[in-house]
């Protein structure tokens, strides 16, 4: 029971810190002091206190976007195991619910963008749904590899490392899947080199341009939801890359948090050393991600 509470607290509380660590890493690379680690929390608190402006063009869909985006990410967080601790909710087939919850969130965030009637946000929505079309098969090829290795269809058992036949037997497949999932993670969470969460060049962005018209608490919900999504997908990836257990249940939580911080540092490094790709190359990389995890399953089924 206490582990379930820790799980919920981590899912609710930790995600913005990930953004703080990424920001700090980037600042260090650029030789700046950078904003404090907890800046994302201050930003969220400020947004939730602010007033909002709603466009006269919008309807209930515009307000539903942030709500659905946040709720789906949080629910998906209940399905994913954090470190060696299983998820609070786990059943055979939860991996499909996991993927489809994000799709539901995407449906409403993209619809909310179109609700403003602005061409910019339309562009963002179109890019978001287009790139997800390519990210989704990559994710499912990855799931196939994990399911085949573990003989289970529940995320908790699939990621219950170290895999019985784990890195020793199917190391090659797992490397491919991890690489592919890392690309999917960067694309789905609008990180450099695929998208830039900080740019103000509306014509080149994906996720940020969709939420241009949101303000106040609604914008806060969107940013919080985005952080939760990054956290949840990151937890999935870290479990494959570093399936370690210490033996002590509470030490495992520490291990998990350390792993997530390491992931944030890696993302920060990637963002610092790479330039953003031109938009036309994003699909190419996503197809590469599909092929990587596709190879992963071929290696297993040969």
């Amino acid at each position: 029971m206490s582990h379930i509470i820790v799980h919920i607290v981590l899912i609710l509380g930790l995600p913005p810190l990930l953004l703080g660590v990424i920001g700090k890493t980037k600042a260090l690379f650029a030789g700046r002091v950078g904003p404090p680690l907890f800046q994302p929390y201050y930003d969220l608190a400020k947004l939730f206190r602010k007033g909002s402006v709603f466009s006269t063009t919008t309807t209930w869909v515009f307000r539903a976007g942030p709500v659905v985006g946040l709720v789906t990410a949080l629910l998906a967080g209940m399905l994913v195991p954090l470190g060696s601790h299983g998820a609070p909710v786990s059943f055979s087939g939860d991996l499909i619910l996991f993927a489809y919850l994000f799709a539901l969130g995407r449906f409403f965030t993209a619809s909310a963008a179109l609700d403003t009637g602005s061409a910019f946000e339309g562009m963002g929505a179109a890019r978001e749904v287009t790139f997800s079309c390519l990210a989704e098969p990559a994710l499912f090829f990855g799931f196939l590899v994990l399911a085949k290795l573990s003989g289970s269809l529940s995320l908790t058992v699939m990621l219950d490392g170290p895999f019985p036949s784990g890195w020793g037997v199917a190391g090659a497949s797992l490397v491919l899947v991890a690489a592919s999932l890392f690309i999917v993670l960067l694309v789905e969470n609008s990180r450099i080199p695929f998208d830039d969460p900080n740019t103000h060049l509306e014509l080149t962005m994906i996720h940020e341009v969709m939420v241009l018209d949101h303000s106040g608490p609604a914008l806060g919900m969107i940013q919080y939801g985005a952080a939760v999504k990054l956290f949840v997908m990151g937890a999935l990836l870290m479990r494959i890359v570093a399936p370690f257990t210490s033996g002590n249940a509470w030490a495992d939580w520490g291990l998990f948090v350390a792993g997530m911080m390491a992931l944030a540092v890696v993302i920060g490094v990637v963002e610092s050393v790479m330039a953003r790709f031109r938009l036309v190359f994003v699909p190419t990389f996503l197809v590469a991600a599909c092929l990587l995890s596709g190879f992963g399953i071929v290696l297993l089924l040969r």
Binding site: F54, V61, V68, F91, A110, G117, E121, L153
Partner: protein, 647 residues
């Protein structure tokens, strides 16, 4: 007892349009009578169908009602009755005095004939009902036969449906040859697989043509677009499923399918699913777009059926149960949400008089109920939780994963393409429905018609709400429908000797309810929290910020074509869009035009050119038939002499 209820229901539907023929053309009485008859027929039919689940299946030489029949009968009785109510406003007799009577006559007939097909116990009744259904559908498609395009679409349908009938004649002749009777009974175990293979292939082509499987879908987009919307709902929601019924029924008669049969269906399903939704993304016509989504969903159903066949070949009861239960449930689900979508599209067309997506926009304000129904239908068709589409897709996903040999020793590597393909279909469907929902209902109105739209009347919104309620019910409580599906699976594969099939250990149906309810509760909580924060912080309204652009117009909005442009670009290799872009302009450019259009690759790319070529070749023999009686006598003499020489 219950079979008589069903037969009475069928008769009620069959005659529902007849009294109206004897009424004055401008009176609504005939239409109201038809609706009442249809409702009575549907009530009798549904009671009979549900009742027959609780008694041993009826089987005599004429009719046979088992669980598979019941599963197909329920949407057949539900959707047309709701469509008839919708028609009271949408196709009012007083406003359509020239074709209203014809429409209702064939509407009742097609409903009765569909039900007839599903309860037929012998191939004669099956074919008779099939032909009545096919021809009534032709007259329904050509309701507005004064329009040239409508007639052309009708002819294409007629050719396609008769090609299908031809295949069925061959199929039933072969079946008669092997089993020795016209009854639809299982093939004996013995005979060579050659005949069984021929029967299977004929069924795939014949029934696939009716179901609209890619590349046999040529008739479907045009016919669905041109028919009145409640007829489109009937055709897309129910009629094309009769093709699936045929495939399910015939495949249940063939013992020991080889692995490649299931593989073929699985591959056909994947092609149909991915390309169906890809073509849908390229469309500008609201109803044509929905029609291509029928091709996609037929693909998903076919994947489930293919998986069940693979399961039978591998002797994997779990794959059979998950695949077939998923396919059968998707038959229901597609019947429900596609009807909602066609009916709400009809409401839009009724209010704005256009099917062109890029002329619409901002309708959610004027038509809130229609917009809500469309949104729920769109979420359901994308297979997203907590609605019904998710349940059936989940069953098929689980079956596909398992058929790979996960958690079991026997497996088939070919199924590895299934889950990613289904994921791709789902993601493309999300893209397509965000596009159409956004372009039609959100943003600002792009034309005068859209600006002056008004909400549809209660006759039109009530049927949609009923269907939406069914979508929610199946999505939130799938355990309710599991027993029916389990009976359907047992009826389909008696050779699997599993006794009672149970879905409960195979699929997390209870968890789906929990997750769906949790999702809804959390959405409400988060929504209330947001509105409280908004009240606390204060809200203001203004024009869309748009990065500070001062004078936006509705025509600057992202259109459905621009939304789809990247995806159409990814699929250029198969969509082959025709783009008429403006040529290079001088310094001070003149007004110019841009048009893009995605033609159907099979119909416009292959069939039309090849038929034209055939017509050209054969027309060079036209001189032989000059209308000259001497020449004809001469041909006869020559032919007789040749015959004599040959003997």
């Amino acid at each position: 007892m219950s079979e008589w209820l069903i037969v009475m229901g069928i008769v009620c539907h069959a005659v529902s349009g007849v009294p109206g023929l004897f009424r004055r053309r401008d009176s609504d009485a005939g239409q109201k009578l038809a609706v009442v008859l249809g409702l009575i027929g549907s009530a009798l039919g549904i009671v009979g169908a549900v009742g027959s689940l609780w008694q041993p299946s009826v089987a005599n030489s004429v009719i046979k009602i088992d669980a598979i029949s019941v599963i197909f009968l329920l949407p057949i009785f539900l959707v047309p009755a709701l469509g008839a109510i919708y028609g009271l406003t949408y196709w009012k007799q007083a406003e359509h005095i020239h074709n209203g009577q014809k429409l209702r006559l064939f509407y009742g007939l097609v409903t009765a004939a569909m039900a007839g097909v599903t309860i037929a116990a012998n191939s004669i009744l099956f074919l008779v009902a099939w032909e009545i259904m096919a021809l009534s559908a032709f007259f329904l498609i050509t309701t507005e036969d004064e329009d040239r395009t409508v007639r052309e679409v009708g002819w294409i349908y007629l050719v396609a449906t008769h090609t299908a009938t031809l295949c069925l004649f061959a199929l039933f002749a072969l079946l008669r040859n092997v089993t020795g009777s016209f009854a639809l009974v299982a093939l004996p175990d013995g005979p060579g697989t050659g005949i069984a293979t021929a029967i299977f292939l004929l069924a795939t082509i014949g029934f696939g043509l009716k179901a609209g499987m890619m590349p046999l879908h040529v008739w479907l987009p045009g016919a669905h677009a041109m028919a009145p919307s409640h007829v489109s709902a009937l055709m897309s929601g129910v009629l094309i499923k009769i093709g699936i019924y045929g495939l399910v029924r015939i495949s249940s008669l063939l013992p020991h399918p080889p692995l490649w049969w299931g593989g073929l269906l699985l591959a056909a399903g994947m092609i149909s699913g991915v390309l169906g939704v890809a073509f849908a993304i390229g469309q500008h016509d609201l109803k044509r777009l929905l029609a291509y989504h029928s091709v996609e969903n037929i693909g998903i159903i076919t994947m489930g059926l293919g998986l069940a066949m693979v399961g039978r070949s591998l002797h994997r009861a779990d794959c059979v149960a998950l695949g077939l239960a998923g396919a059968l449930l998707h038959v229901w689900n597609h019947g429900l949400f596609k009807s909602v979508l066609f009916l709400s599209a009809g409401a839009v067309i009724h209010a704005t008089h256009t099917r062109e997506i890029d002329h619409l926009g901002g309708l959610a304000k004027a038509m809130p109920r229609t917009a809500l129904c469309f949104a729920i239908g769109a979420v359901a068709i994308c297979g997203l939780p907590p609605l019904n589409g998710f349940v059936s897709e989940l069953l098929i996903y689980l079956g596909l994963f398992r058929s790979l040999g996960i958690g079991h020793e026997t497996g088939w590597a070919g199924a590895a393409f299934g889950p990613p393909a289904l994921a791709l279909i789902g993601a493309l469907a999300v893209a397509c429905f965000v596009k159409v929902f956004g372009a039609v209902f959100l943003g600002a109105a792009r034309s005068e018609h859209a600006r002056h739209a008004r909400e549809a009347g209660a006759n039109m919104t009530a049927p949609m709400l009923v269907l939406v309620g069914c979508c929610l019910l199946i999505g939130l409580a799938p355990l309710l429908v599991a027993p029916v599906l389990e009976r359907g699976v047992s009826a389909w594969s008696p050779d699997l000797a599993t006794g009672a099939v149970s879905l409960a250990p195979l699929a997390p149906l209870g968890w789906i309810s929990v997750a769906g309810l949790a999702l809804i509760v959390l959405l409400v909580v988060a929504g209330v929290a947001l509105s409280q924060r908004l009240r606390h912080g204060g809200t203001a309204s203004s024009g869309t910020w748009d990065c500070g652009y001062a004078a936006p117009t509705a025509r600057m909005q992202y259109t459905s074509s621009s939304f789809a442009q990247m995806l159409v670009g990814c699929f250029t290799w198969v969509l082959r869009p025709r783009v008429h872009a403006p040529s290079e302009q001088p310094l001070f450019s003149r007004p110019t035009q841009f048009r893009s259009h995605v033609p159907d690759i099979v119909l416009d790319g292959a069939l039309r050119p090849s038929f034209r070529f055939g017509a050209k070749i054969t027309s060079s023999f036209r001189f032989l038939q000059a209308g000259n009686i001497h020449a004809y006598l001469f041909y006869i003499v020559v032919f007789l002499i040749l015959l004599l020489l040959w003997r």
